[in-house]
Symmetry: C2
Subunit: 334 residues, 2 copies
């Protein structure tokens, strides 16, 4: 079995533990429609990458991963709360192959469903905390989760308020990705470390590893979006271009392009009916400008930094799993 297959299997195993907890904490009450709407996305699947981080981080500092299940589930619920609200804000009709919550139940119910999920994060962490996890540790976990939630809001507002791609700096972009992806990754790893009784130095190292991994994942996503085929991407080639998505590649290209290249880029970016030929032309341009290589090099730097953080942790199977996770997600063909 390749290390990729092994990681996939472990993700599925940990997802089962977490999913049954999520199912329990979202046990329907009145009004049913609220619970139907709240359960819809979070129980529709997902890779459960974030709870995996929490469980493995707990194990990596010598803790019992079972203690971390309510916390891992809480952080997955937090992630799903942000997705439900993001879909309302972006008016996205589909997520994970199913209609989004607001598409199915309308905006008011979707807002309430997100709010309920957010509340459940804290119910999971307090009312379900195992006896062995001290109140002080629980509080620190809540602080970490809250900090992430705040940064997610900040990242989302940066994202919706970037007026147009040509005004976004690389620094803004990294800040946005930090908020939208890395802040929660960091919280997941830190919370696992805290529940597991890790030393402050270890908890910090776990948080930093996950932060950098989050940026690397996003940059690899951008890279794949400009180089992958439809099967790898799970969406048509050129979707990022047609949607005018702000990626590091585009930001770099707009900064470095010659006037004629820039003009061509701006003509196709965000054009929903761009042809496949135009997409290929733009991908060629991005390669010529060096933007694709630039993003890949940057992603690789984040991967390397991320891995170096592990020096603070003793060798263990969990540490190896976290290592493999980075490789799996940054070399992914799924």
């Amino acid at each position: 079995m390749s290390s990729g297959d092994a990681i996939k299997k472990k993700l599925v195993e940990s997802a089962k533990l977490v999913d049954s907890f999520i199912d329990e904490i979202l046990t329907p009450r009145r009004p049913e429609v609220l619970y139907d709407a709240s359960r819809h996305l979070v129980l529709a699947g997902g890779k459960r990458l974030r709870p995996f981080l929490t469980l493995k981080a707990c194990e990596a500092v010598g803790g019992n991963p079972e203690d971390a299940i309510p916390f891992a589930a809480a952080l997955e619920i937090l992630h799903n709360f942000t997705l439900v609200h993001d879909d309302v804000m972006d008016n996205d009709p589909v997520r994970r192959g199913a209609p989004t919550v607001h598409t199915k139940w309308g905006v008011p119910i979707a807002i309430c469903a997100g709010d309920l999920l957010f509340a459940k994060v804290f119910e999971a962490m307090t009312a379900y905390a195992p006896k062995g996890v001290s109140a002080k540790r629980v509080n620190t976990c809540i602080e970490k989760a809250t900090k992430a939630a705040i940064e997610i809001c900040e990242g989302q507002v940066l994202d919706v308020s970037f007026p147009n791609t040509s005004d976004v700096s690389e620094e803004d972009y990294i800040a946005m990705v930090g908020g939208k992806t890395s802040a929660l990754f960091r919280a997941c790893a830190e919370v696992g470390g805290i529940v597991g009784g890790g030393k402050t130095r270890q908890v910090n190292a776990l948080g930093k590893f996950a932060w950098d991994a989050g940026i690397a994942f996003q940059l690899m996503d951008d890279y794949l979006g400009a180089t992958g085929d439809e099967k790898t991407l799970g969406k048509p080639v050129g979707s990022d271009i047609r949607e005018g998505k702000k990626t590091l590649i585009i930001i770099h290209a707009l900064r470095k392009a010659k006037p004629k290249q820039r003009e061509r880029l701006l003509a196709v970016l965000g054009n929903h009916s761009a042809t496949r030929q135009e997409i290929d032309e733009i991908h060629g341009l991005l390669r010529d400008i060096g933007s694709i290589d630039y993003a890949l090099a940057k992603a690789n730097r984040y991967i390397a930094t991320s891995k170096r953080r592990f020096d603070a942790l003793p060798d263990s199977e969990a540490k190896k799993d976290l290592f493999d996770l980075i490789d799996y997600f940054t070399n992914r063909k799924y």
Copy 2:
């Protein structure tokens, strides 16, 4: 000075303490627009009734109300988070005499602003908890606040999904008011009692007092809506009728009305251009059916039950303040 004036003065004093904490915890960061939007409603005023409950409950069990300030502020922030999202759901343009958050900044920013406020509730309770308040107590406070947040979501969904007034039972109505008003009142009083080191019996009594007071306040609101003048109401006479608002009075009337009365009621209810003459006619009808007296009697029963809960608490100035608060808000002329 009347007890009403004394309470007003005390509300203003406690509001100052709480407001300066709210101002601090919402210190602007990037992106500025998110913080502007988050600060807009909560710092625009309000009676600060909920934090008052928390501070006084803390004092009533012998605690130091200063310890309760971050918790009182957190619960006021929780209240404001729900208002920001409710205004989006109900598409209300004005609140506290100012444009609502989504009117000023758009729906996406308003959703994020509400989410940020919700996150700040937990930041206030963990990162700002005074040293003297144990981690265990902090946890219990978070549990209480979370329970309230869940019930608020449930109440709000009941409210937005009641198809039309004629289908709403009195039981549904009380469940909805319980969620939308009493759940947070209860949490405010319980959290104050917990921070102050109250015995479980006292904390429970405080919670029950506040729950019943919340229902009484809402019923008195309904009563005033059908009997008050424009100055008392702060809005035109008959607003509840024109908006087709689900009040206990209307629910009772639709159940007890004779066919002709019912027909007349349904013709005017929810008619935004109903004349003052029609409103007077409906108010006359509601009186004839006995619905106005019914709501008043019910409110008085809740007030009496609410006050009886205080038997569990020793006499004190804070206990008297809570007593006066009920009288002030249920006999209010403001």
